[in-house]
Structures are given as C-alpha cells and as structure tokens.
C-alpha cells in the first residue's frame, strides 16, 4: 500500500520518509541478527567448527529469541514461530577448500550425545506440517530456502550455508559429518565437539 502511494506521489520524497523509519527498524533487527557474531567477537572465541586442508565447517547456534525475532521480521505467522521454538537451530557454514567436488549429504551427519543419537529434522518433515497448519506459501518458501539442502555437491572452493534443525535438547553433543569425495575414495570426516543448543548453553545473551 505504501508503495502504491509512493507511485502516485513524488517518489524520492516518499522514499526518503520510508527509508528513515525502516533504516531504524533494520538496524535494530540487524543488531539482533548479528548478535551471535558479535558475542563471539567480543570474547575472541571461534564458533564451534572444524577445519582442515580440505574443508571448513562452522556451526552458529541460534537462541529461541533470535530465531523468533528473525522469523517475525520476515512476517512468519505466530503459530509457525511457536512451533519452531521447540527446535534447536544451527546455521552451518561450509567451505570446500579442495580443487574438486566435495559431496555433502546430511544423512551422513550424526549428532550424538552421551545418551545417544540426536534426531535431526529433515527437510521433508516440514511441508506436511506447514500444510496442516495452513502456513502461507511465502513463509514456507522462505523457511525452506534457509535450510541447508539435504544433499549438495560443493564445487571447488565453493562456500554455502544454511540451517540445520534438531529437536531441542539440553545435552552437550558432537557432530560427526562425513563428506564424500567420489567412489573408491575415503570420505573427509569433520568432527565438532561440545555443541549445545543456544538456550541450553546459556552462552547467548538475551536480545
């Protein structure tokens, strides 16, 4: 609606008005989004991760508040955010440092605590749930694009990222991720220890 008004008025003046308000909102929201990074920078810790000559894998945990703030800003329905708050989110950032293809398959990622294997929520589990909850297609689409694909071939030096979702737990756990290099070749195994859901760790400050 605001944009339609802009079209009929002087576009530049209208734009300036809107931008002033929205810059403030964007800054406030941006601060919340990047708070994880800021926190890690403040105490000079690295995010949990693994790096060798072949790949770099980093995992950034999201607190429930950060997740809710991000999705609210994207216009997700409250019922969708409430559902998502029962889960543990990590943004995974992966860089293939090799000169050839690195094969990622989330089915070959194991999250394990002392009590056993943790359940990762695969991409296929969400659409039926969203359908049942009558979630708008735009929100479904955005959520889907934010997930790490179930499988992806990383080209030489390619870097990609996306969210990995687990059932929420207070346990400390490890990730053992196997990346394929093709037939008859040993996989690259990345191990990340001492992982915790952000809320469980208490390491992420409230917004």
């Amino acid at each position: 609606m605001a944009n339609n008004n802009c079209k009929s008025q002087q576009k530049q003046a209208c734009f300036t008005q809107q931008v002033i308000v929205r810059v403030l909102l964007t800054l406030a929201f941006g601060l919340s989004l990047f708070s994880i990074g800021v926190l890690y920078a403040e105490d000079e810790r690295s995010p949990p991760g693994f790096e060798n000559a072949q790949l770099r894998l980093q995992l950034f945990p999201w607190s429930t508040e950060q997740m809710a703030a991000f999705f609210e800003a994207r216009g997700f329905p409250a019922r969708m955010i409430e559902t998502l708050s029962a889960y543990c989110f990590f943004t995974a950032s992966i860089k293939n440092k090799r000169n050839d293809v690195l094969q990622m398959d989330l089915a070959r990622w194991e999250f394990v605590s002392r009590k056993g294997k943790l359940q990762r929520i695969p991409r296929s589990q969400w659409p039926p749930l969203w359908e049942k909850m009558n979630i708008p297609l735009a929100s479904q689409s955005t959520f889907r694009w934010m997930l790490l694909p179930e499988t992806l071939h990383f080209y030489a030096h390619e870097k990609e990222g996306g969210n990995v979702v687990l059932r929420k737990t207070t346990a400390i756990f490890s990730l053992r991720a196997r990346f394929g290099l093709g037939e008859n070749t040993e996989p690259v195994i990345a191990i990340v220890n001492n992982l915790q859901c952000a809320d469980a760790a208490g390491a992420i400050k409230s917004l």
């Binding site: 605001a2 929205r22 216009g75 735009a138 955005t142 694009w145 934010m146």
Partner: protein, 170 residues
C-alpha cells in the same frame, strides 16, 4: 549443427573466458518465469526469446545477496546498452521489504516479485543468491555459484560477449 557449435565455442573463448564461479552446465529448457515487477509491470521470460537473459534470485535476509546487489546494480548500469535482458527476482518477500532493501543498496534495480516463492521453487536453485544465463532459445546454459562480483571487468566482458551470441544448436 556442428559448425554452429564450433563457431559458438570459438567466439566465446576468443572474446572472453568464463569468469570464476560461472559454470557451463548441461543445457535444459528454462522453467516458466512470469511475474510482475515491484511497480506492477508484467514480465514473461517466454516473450524475451531472441535475447540472452540474466535470471537472478535473491532475498533480503540472505547475507551474500546483500553483498552482491550493489555489484548487480553497477553491472546493469554498465550493460544497459547491451542486448542482455535482466530478470532479477525476489523470492517470497513483500513489496515493503523489497522496496526498503533495494532503496538502501541498489535503488535503480526494479525487481520482479515472486510473492509466494513458487516460481523460484520451479527453478530449483542451489540456494540464494542464484543466477542463471538463459540463451536466446530459452535454454539455461550457465549457472553462477553464489554471489559474484558482476561489475568486475572479467564478468562484464563475458556478459557483453554473451549478449550478442546466437543460440547454440546443441
């Protein structure tokens, strides 16, 4: 057919090498792309046949998209006299979000609006941002990996050379 293929390969290699991060892929027909832009003007990929088309998918929440968009605006400006057609598609966001984002980062870009995200789904990009280069026959020929510095000389030269290439016959 063979001659056409040879001419194509020769022209591209002599005019400009394929820049970093651009993949020549196994060709396939471009999925449908019919959307309105943010000002309500309709766009149809099918009606742009005869031109190379730069198809780009983005969203404001995606960090690499944010970094890449100013380069895209510079590229569009520098190639405005070329025959390349630009289809820059926002994925599943509303007009206010797109208006604000582009106002801050790339005010000259007029984005197409995939309001429910279904056109993007049909294209099945590897992730966002994602860019495809579609030939004059509507065949997808190249894909870019992630965000690219489109306004750098190597990319501009490549796109400019591409824009005057006829469709391949194989």
């Amino acid at each position: 057919m063979l001659t056409g293929g040879f001419v194509w390969a020769e022209d591209i290699s002599s005019a400009s090498a394929i820049p970093k991060g651009i993949l020549s892929i196994t060709a396939y027909p471009a999925p449908s792309l019919e959307l309105n832009d943010i000002d309500g003007n309709p766009f149809s990929l099918a009606q742009k046949k005869g031109h190379w088309i730069f198809v780009h998918f983005w969203a404001s929440w995606c960090g690499p998209c944010r970094r890449e968009m100013p380069a895209i605006q510079n590229m569009v400006e520098k190639l405005k006299t070329s025959q390349l057609v630009f289809a820059i598609v926002n994925t599943a966001e509303n007009e206010d979000t797109v208006f604000t984002f582009l106002g801050l980062l790339a005010p000259d870009i007029v984005s197409l609006m995939d309001l429910d995200g279904q056109v993007t789904e049909a294209w099945q990009p590897r992730g966002l941002p994602s860019t495809y280069l579609v030939d004059p026959d509507g065949i997808v020929r190249y894909q870019a990996l992630g965000g690219r510095p489109w306004d750098e000389e190597a990319y501009l030269r490549f796109l400019e050379a591409l824009s005057v290439q006829p469709a391949r016959k194989n």
